[in-house]
């Protein structure tokens, strides 16, 4: 059996204090930090030193897939019913008419790109889920900054101390 871990929750009013707390905990070697804020702040990311989001690859992949699908769909279906010149002749235009089919490619590239971006985001942040995780404080979405620190139970006191030192408004310890 592994060592029992607990979650220490610190709630902050002030952003600088909040950042300071993160910085200090990081310096102390705490890796499992989750920062809550009502608005996105680059500073948090910087402090946490997280890698760049991989959502971009989803976008790229989706876009590429969409372009291929769009062009392929238009081309293959045009060749599906061969009356003259391998398809259905309209207005003397070639059966595989590149310019309009590029429009299909473009539109589906955008569509697939967007949808896979969303998909990528959802996969990455493990959403959607029906409800918030226990221990989430509704104030996080209003004006409070929150910090979860997962640490072995015996280290929780030290964490609380750091939080306290940085001026956390409220400190709580959840069993998990």
């Amino acid at each position: 059996m592994k060592e029992r871990t607990v979650r220490v929750v610190g709630i902050f009013i002030y952003f600088d204090a909040f950042l300071e707390a993160i910085r200090r905990l990081k310096d102390l070697g705490y890796r499992d930090l989750t920062a809550f804020s009502p608005v996105p702040h680059h500073e948090i990311e910087e402090v946490l030193e997280k890698p760049q989001s991989p959502v971009r690859y989803f976008t790229l992949g989706g876009g590429f897939l969409g372009a291929v699908t769009g062009f392929g769909l238009a081309t293959l279906t045009s060749l599906n019913y061969p009356i003259i010149a391998g398809g259905i002749m309209t207005g003397g235009k070639p059966i595989v008419s590149i310019p309009p089919f590029l429009i299909m490619a473009f539109e589906l590239a955008i569509l697939f790109g967007s949808l896979s971006t969303i998909l990528g985001m959802l996969l990455n942040i493990r959403l959607p889920r029906p409800r918030v995780q226990p221990g989430y404080d509704p104030r996080f979405s209003v004006d409070r900054f929150g910090l979860w620190v997962r640490c072995p139970a015996d280290r929780s006191g030290a964490v609380e101390e750091v939080l306290q030192a940085c001026g956390a408004e409220e400190i709580r310890r959840d069993e998990i």
Partner: protein, 987 residues
């Protein structure tokens, strides 16, 4: 009473009437009704054709009727018939709508005390007539029976005469509203012949019509149209010249090189003035000296300068006309149309006869011998004496057959009042027209398509009529009714009529004919041949005629015009191409057919020159009271440069007060305005003999036409070229550079060529298309809204200034473009290009986005704005039994679907099918779309453009070729040939 559908199904067997469903839907299970005993030679799904004679006007064109499973579905001209040689006019095409008219009288009717009509049995109806006739005979008053028929000839004509004289009466009148009395009388005066000769338009080099609308209604329009087209065809560097003299720009006039709007009633002076010039300049053919001198003195009072004043024409015109007429031999002057029915009509016709005579046309382009049957007609004066007799209680029984004098006689003649005095009026009419509506007993005849009979439009032509289908209703052929009445009469009469049916009687008549014409042929062969080819014809030689001494007594008087006021305008009532004398006003196809000149549909109007209208403060659509000394009518005004400023024109044929849902309450009947007094010499109606005043009523009436603009605004849609430029050089086609490589048409590339020089704008093609392709009639309001459904239209454009308009006609239909703009815009491939070069429209695939129509530069696509195909719909276009005419080879389109010309793909399919059966390719000329088939002038040619030797390919290389809106690179399959402009200044 409804149609006996069950009985009908017994006949038609499998197939059934066309249902109208587009799209996939659950349909109730259909019944399959087999034949009890299959008729021989009748295979369900295979068409049979029967030859008969069109009886919609006295021209007597031969007709072939296509029937499928016992239903007549399409009428076409009989190629073997000498009159029309395979062509039919718009009215002939519409004869099927007489047969299937929803307002037909379906069984015998009798009028009760309250004036209501109710149905009775045939036995009872005949019994009542028979007993009255017997009664009269007992009282010795058998001569008080009068029988009024239209122009008949052959079996039925003879039977009626025999029957009537057996009864003891001679009051038999063959009545036609347009009986050409002045022409006949003039021929008697000039040549001693009470006859109308054959006119050879084809042979003439110079044609001069004095108000004879030979392309519309005059005598035999289909035959003349053919002759006219041949005369106008480009040959050896020239085309025939045609001048039209008359007060109104009729369709015929519009086809002339020059319309000379002469002062009404002065045509005779022009003719005499021309003779004056011809004789004076020695341009005449050699004439006996004495005759020449007498003629010279006859025309002496008419020197050109005096004629110029009378006719209001420049003197030079008279000289030029005379010289051209004499020089261009043989020429032909035509007269005796309704524009020439004033008080001096006969003398005018005599003058025209003399004009033909002095340049030697008589015997060449005017041929007595193969005379037109019209000479048997009663004159208007005969009608007046009948009216007198009726008023004098000398007519106890009036029998009316297919004639509507109440509508077609001048109302001042008093037929209505006289009719009320007749104790028993019996009508054999198929429709409840005005006169029939006054009858006491109605014994409805079959329509001609259901009847046996024969008709001879002129000497040597014996057209045979056979029923093309079983009678639709409880009607009875008039011949059979007469025979039945004879049988019910006393035995002395009965034994004179031993024939069990009119058919037997007809056979006997034809046995005599066979003895006369082909004594060597067995009768059965003769009869079968006649049935197959639609009659028998024998060459009749022209007989020489000489001037009758009577002619020199000619004294041409100034025409007299009666008027209520000084400022009055000449009234010109004319039979229109579409409605003729009004007998077909109940045909929806014709009602919806735009008048060829004004383009107005479903209506009647008074045409007035803008100048006169401006003076009177009248604008388009103002309802005006037209008042003559004899009566007045209210009609909407239509402004047009097509009449002289001192003339107003009203078409005859509308203004019915009875005659069914389609005919009633459309304008007014101008017969109310005409005088009762006949023309003194010929005894005809003096149609153009009064002046009328126009006053605004303050009411407005929308006159509706499908035409957006009658000017082409320099867009060169309908093109023409001067004769002089033709043959100068032929331009090579520069194939434009294409972005995309051309695509192949593996087997055929169907195409069409339309010769604008041949198109006379008669619109027969439109009706033929309606009939062939189940095109719905939508009604006046819909046309106004821009929802006209015609797949082919005749675009009429006016060029030049108002004083000297040049009219161009352009048949516009789907161009079946190789690069069709409509095709790529369809999201669901409902329209596409077939391997044979057709622009296809698949109705059941169409979702109705209408983009194709927007993108069609020719605007030939038609959208189903309403549900025209569902009997449950309020807008149902084919009320029973009109729906029986529907062509089962063509879908009846449902609402929300685009449709358009298919080049009659069903005919292409049928021809290919025949070819496959016979193991051969389709032959050139084998496929004829409905429009091309009926075209009286053969302006439309269809064929395979891939075959360089096909007629259409050759025409597509003609130096006159052009394509409409060619710069759009739509590459249409239709090549137009430019109209040729005769250089009239040289005349």
């Amino acid at each position: 009473m409804g149609i006996d559908r069950r009985a009908f199904l017994k006949v038609i067997g499998v197939g059934g009437a066309t249902t109208a469903l587009v799209g996939c839907g659950a349909e109730p299970p259909e019944k399959l009704i087999p034949y009890l005993i299959p008729p021989e030679e009748l295979i369900p799904g295979m068409a049979s054709w029967y030859a008969t004679v069109c009886r919609e006007c006295p021209a007597g064109c031969g007709m072939l009727v296509k029937t499928l499973e016992g239903r007549a579905i399409k009428g076409e001209g009989n190629l073997a018939h000498p009159v029309n040689q395979g062509r039919l006019c718009a009215r002939g095409q519409a004869s099927l709508q007489g047969l299937y008219n929803p307002d037909r009288i379906r069984e015998p009717l009798s009028r009760d005390q309250n004036g209501h009509l109710h149905s009775i049995s045939w036995d009872e109806a005949e019994g009542r007539v028979a007993s009255r006739l017997a009664d009269l005979r007992r009282k010795g008053k058998a001569d008080r029976v009068a029988f009024l028929t239209p122009l008949l000839s052959g079996g039925l004509d003879r039977l009626i005469d025999t029957w009537l004289s057996a009864l003891g009466s001679r009051r038999r009148l063959r009545y036609e509203p347009f009986a050409y009395e002045p022409l006949r009388t003039a021929n008697r005066i000039t040549f001693g012949r009470d006859a109308i000769p054959a006119y050879d338009l084809e042979g003439a080099k110079f044609l001069l019509s004095f108000g004879a609308d030979f392309l519309e209604t005059w005598i035999s329009p289909v035959a003349y149209a053919r002759g006219f087209a041949a005369m106008r065809a480009y040959q050896d560097g020239r085309i025939g010249t045609f001048f039209y003299v008359g007060p109104r720009l009729s369709l015929t006039a519009a086809n002339a090189d020059r319309w000379i709007p002469i002062k009404p009633g002065t045509e005779g002076f022009l003719a005499l003035g021309m003779i004056h010039v011809i004789l004076g300049e020695g341009l005449e053919v050699p004439l006996p000296q004495e005759e020449r001198e007498r003629l010279k003195s006859l025309v002496k009072p008419y020197p050109p300068e005096r004629v110029a004043i009378r006719t209001e024409l420049p003197e030079g015109t008279i000289f030029r006309l005379a010289r051209a007429f004499a020089r261009e031999k043989p020429s032909l002057a035509l007269g005796g149309g309704v524009a020439m029915t004033g008080s001096n009509a006969t003398s005018t016709c005599v003058a025209i006869n003399l004009l033909n005579y002095v340049v030697g046309n008589v015997g060449k382009t005017v041929r007595f011998g193969p005379n037109v049957t019209l000479a048997n007609l009663a004159t208007y004066r005969d009608m007046l004496s009948l009216i007198d007799a009726m008023n004098g209680d000398k007519v106890e029984v009036l029998l009316l057959y297919s004639t509507n004098p109440l509508f077609t006689l001048p109302q001042a003649a008093g037929f209505r009042e006289a009719l009320r005095k007749v104790p028993l009026v019996v009508s054999f009419s198929s429709f409840l027209d005005e006169t029939t509506a006054e009858a006491h007993l109605i014994l409805p005849d079959h329509t001609f398509l259901e009847s046996w009979g024969d008709y001879s439009p002129r000497e040597g032509i014996y057209g045979l009529m056979q029923p093309v289908m079983r009678p639709l209703f409880q009607t009875k052929a008039v011949g059979d009714t007469l025979l039945s009445l004879a049988r019910q009469s006393d035995p002395k009469i009965a034994q004179r009529f031993p024939w069990p049916s009119f058919y037997e009687y007809l056979l006997e008549q034809w046995k005599e004919l066979q003895k006369r014409l082909e004594p060597g042929t067995p009768f059965d062969t003769f009869w079968e041949q006649a049935l197959q080819q639609g009659g028998v014809w024998k060459e009749v030689r022209a007989e020489p005629v000489r001037l009758s001494p009577q002619v020199f007594e000619l004294a041409l008087k100034e025409a007299a015009f009666e008027a209520k006021a000084e400022q009055a305008l000449y009234l010109h009532c004319y039979p229109s191409l579409i409605h003729f004398d009004g007998r077909m006003a109940n045909r929806p196809w014709l009602q919806e057919l735009p008048d060829p000149m004004t383009q107005i549909v479903w209506d009647n109007w008074v045409e007035i020159h803008p100048e006169a209208a401006g003076r009177l403060g009248i604008v388009e659509g103002d309802v005006v009271t037209v008042a003559s000394p004899y009566g007045e009518v209210e009609l909407p005004a239509h402004l047009s440069g097509g009449v002289r400023p001192d003339v107003v024109a009203i078409p005859v044929g509308q203004g019915h007060t009875a005659f069914g849902r389609y005919a009633e309450k459309r304008g007014a009947n101008p017969m109310a305005l005409l005088p009762s007094k006949p023309e003194p010499l010929a005894g005809s109606v003096m149609v153009l003999s009064i002046k009328v005043t126009l006053t605004r009523t303050g009411k407005r009436h929308q006159l509706v036409s499908p035409a957006g603009s009658d000017r082409q605004q320099g867009r060169e849609i309908a093109q023409a070229m001067p004769l002089s430029q033709l043959g100068e050089h032929t331009e090579e086609d520069h194939a434009p550079k294409q972005i995309y490589p051309p695509h192949d048409h593996p087997e055929h590339r169907w195409g069409m060529a339309i010769d604008l020089n041949a198109c006379i704008g008669c619109e027969a093609c439109i009706v033929a298309c309606y009939a062939e392709n189940n095109v719905p009639v939508v009604g006046k309001e819909r046309v106004q809204e821009g929802r006209w459904m015609a797949w082919i239209r005749i675009e009429r454009y006016v060029e030049g200034e108002l004083e000297r308009p040049e009219t161009r006609f352009l048949p516009m239909l789907c161009q079946h473009c190789d690069h069709a703009p409509c095709e790529p815009v369809c999201p669901v491939y409902a329209t596409y290009h077939t391997p044979e070069g057709l622009n296809a429209q698949v109705y059941n695939r169409c979702v109705g986005v209408r983009y194709c129509s927007n993108n069609c530069p020719y605007k030939v696509r038609r959208f189903n704005w309403f549900e025209y195909s569902d009997p449950k719909s309020k807008q149902y276009a084919f009320p029973e039994p009109l729906n029986w005419q529907l062509n089962p080879d063509v879908t009846v389109r449902g609402k929300g679907v685009m449709e358009k010309c298919t080049f009659c793909v069903q005919r292409i399919q049928a021809a290919k099918d025949r070819g496959k059966d016979e193991g051969r390719p389709v032959r050139d000329g084998e496929i004829i779309p409905a429009c091309a088939q009926t075209c009286p002038t053969q302006a439309i040619v269809f064929g395979d453009l891939k075959d360089p030797n096909s007629r259409v390919s050759k025409l597509a290389r003609d130096p006159r070729r052009y394509r409409v809106l060619e710069h759009l690179n739509t590459q249409p399959a239709i090549t137009y040939l430019k109209k040729i402009k005769q250089d009239t200044e040289q005349v």
